[in-house]
């Protein structure tokens, strides 16, 4: 089959790879109908994530039709499903508490050593996201083997288009969990750093959870315009001093909750960012965390910090003093996708959440490498690329 494979920094290709099949009893195989390129795929594209190997099949946002089932799968051939990006067993202690991204069993034992050393305990497996997260082949392909198909994929009712529900796989639940982690109370002002897909879904979610005001921060005019469309006030950090603006806009208080949906490749010409970038490129540190630092400084006393953004390693000069002195609370983590899928599918079907606005480009799977380059180089115009193997 054809699949988008990683071969190095800024080098992804359409490869012909082995067809997947059933390996374990709970597996299914799906024929992919839609698969998106995620902002976090750009971290792979930029070479920031360790333990990638040449030939790894990318992609963790995908959906399709069930074509093969293992004896313990509860799915039926022909069903259309959206697959969560986290590979979780549904039977361990963490899954029983709906902490699916902390699943004990989704990661193959041989792939657990690195996370064990780096993080203290290994996390769930992920599709198409390095060997540290399992080495599972991803969904930017014609077919995918899906483990634990009895607890992961959600069945989509007939007549609902792919583009409406595809983002249940990652970014919609991630944006929703980001807002939930901000513990929003009615009347709150919430500031969101980064108006990528996760930030934009966090804006929508924050309003649905009762936020009175949402202030969205980015430097791409098109992305800020999308945030504005959902009712957010905007700050362009290239034109405006963010902390000063936030303090004035919130009457000198600071936002009640802050959401960092930027992550380890924060942009902008700031001293700390430049230092981080030098360290990252010389392997002295990995993560550029300017947005996160700014969010903590801006957050009001006793406020909440939500961090859906991806960080992988270590960060220097984190304002731990401000964090402690102001008594902030931080909630973070990879998304517990399976926990959120059913309610969010319902919200989509009831038109409470808009998803399709995000898609700026649809293209055949074979144009995936071009898609990566576009998404990387033109972040103002390109908000989301969906690859459709059926268009090839």
């Amino acid at each position: 089959m054809k699949a988008i494979a990683w071969h190095g920094k800024h080098d992804v290709r359409v490869d012909t790879v082995d067809d997947p099949g059933i390996v374990n009893p709970r597996d299914c195989v799906i024929k992919v109908t839609s698969t998106a390129i995620c902002g976090s795929d750009l971290h792979l594209y930029d070479g920031y994530i360790p333990t990638m190997q040449s030939g790894d099949v990318l992609g963790h946002e995908f959906m399709g039709e069930v074509v093969e089932i293992g004896p313990k799968s509860t799915l039926k051939k022909g069903q259309r499903v959206v697959v969560p990006f986290t590979i979780s067993c549904g039977s361990c202690y963490h899954c029983s508490k709906h902490q699916y991204s902390a699943c004990d069993n989704g990661l193959p034992a041989d792939n657990q050593d690195i996370a064990q050393e780096l993080y203290g305990q290994p996390m769930a497996g992920l599709f198409g996201y390095s060997h540290m997260t399992g080495g599972y082949a991803g969904g930017q392909a014609e077919y995918v083997r899906v483990p634990f198909s009895d607890v992961g994929p959600i069945v989509i009712p007939d007549g609902i288009e792919d583009d409406k529900v595809l983002f249940l796989s990652d970014i919609l639940p991630t944006g929703w969990m980001a807002a939930e982690n901000a513990d929003i109370e009615p009347g709150d002002t919430v500031a969101v750093w980064g108006c990528g897909p996760v930030g934009l879904f966090a804006v929508q979610s924050a309003f649905l959870m009762g936020a009175e005001r949402v202030i969205a921060i980015d430097h791409f005019p098109n992305r800020l315009a999308l945030a504005k469309r959902f009712g957010a006030e905007t700050i362009n950090f290239e034109e405006t001093a963010v902390y000063e603006a936030l303090m004035v806009m919130t009457g000198g208080i600071g936002p009640d909750a802050v959401i960092d949906s930027v992550g380890l490749e924060a942009h902008g010409f700031y001293v700390d960012n430049v230092l981080d970038q030098i360290k990252a490129s010389t392997f002295l540190g990995t993560d550029r965390a300017h947005a996160n630092r700014q969010a903590i400084i801006a957050c009001r006393k006793g406020g909440r910090v939500s961090m859906p953004a991806v960080y992988g390693g270590f960060v220097d000069k984190w304002p731990l003093g401000a964090f402690m002195e102001k008594g902030l609370t931080l909630k973070t983590g990879q998304t517990h996708v399976q926990h959120y899928m059913p309610a969010l599918l319902q919200a989509i079907l009831e038109d409470k959440i808009d998803t399709e606005f995000l898609i700026s480009h649809r293209m055949p799977l074979s144009e995936g490498p071009k898609g990566y380059k576009m998404f990387h180089d033109q972040q103002n115009e390109v908000t989301k690329i969906v690859l459709k193997p059926g268009l090839d």
Partner: protein
Amino acid sequence: MADQLLHQQNDDAPLATSKQRDAIQRAKGSVPEATGTQITARAVTINRPVAEVYAHFRDFANLPGFMENVERIDVLDQRRSHWVVKAPAGGTVEWDARITEEVEHRLLAWTSEEGAEVPNSGRVEFHDAGARGTVVVATILYDPPGGVIGKLIAKMFQREPAIQARRDLRRLKQLLETGEIATPAMNRQQYEEMGL
């Protein structure tokens, strides 16, 4: 004289995690007929009842199903078994093992018989952890093939018992909790090639 050189333990931590050089001497006290110069301890919590976990472990024919490096175990009688284990760089090592202590649903201790290529001994404890299931703690004493150099080589080839024990316990957990062992293989053919 030797006893006077042993450090006193001032905490409740498992001896296998001690930074004191003589910890292994003291740890041997908890393993009947202990043999081996290296020690490792690993724990895993399995979300299944203790009787089920113990029964799966006690049937040694099950062990190669989750112990990656164990090629084969021949059960000789209730207490004795013959182990064939993969070694670094493609070889195998074999030994006879004997159960030295057994408390149903609680404890299994073993030692290798005289003449084993890789002398080893240890104990596996099973604790009822209530709503969390069963805590399994494995403490293994072993002589790595070829001493310290052998241990380094084994580590390079990822056949080092400390690494292997952690992975094996995780596979046991996966098998008992989910009914299968997680693998990134895309299909059966890749699975076979990975040698699991």
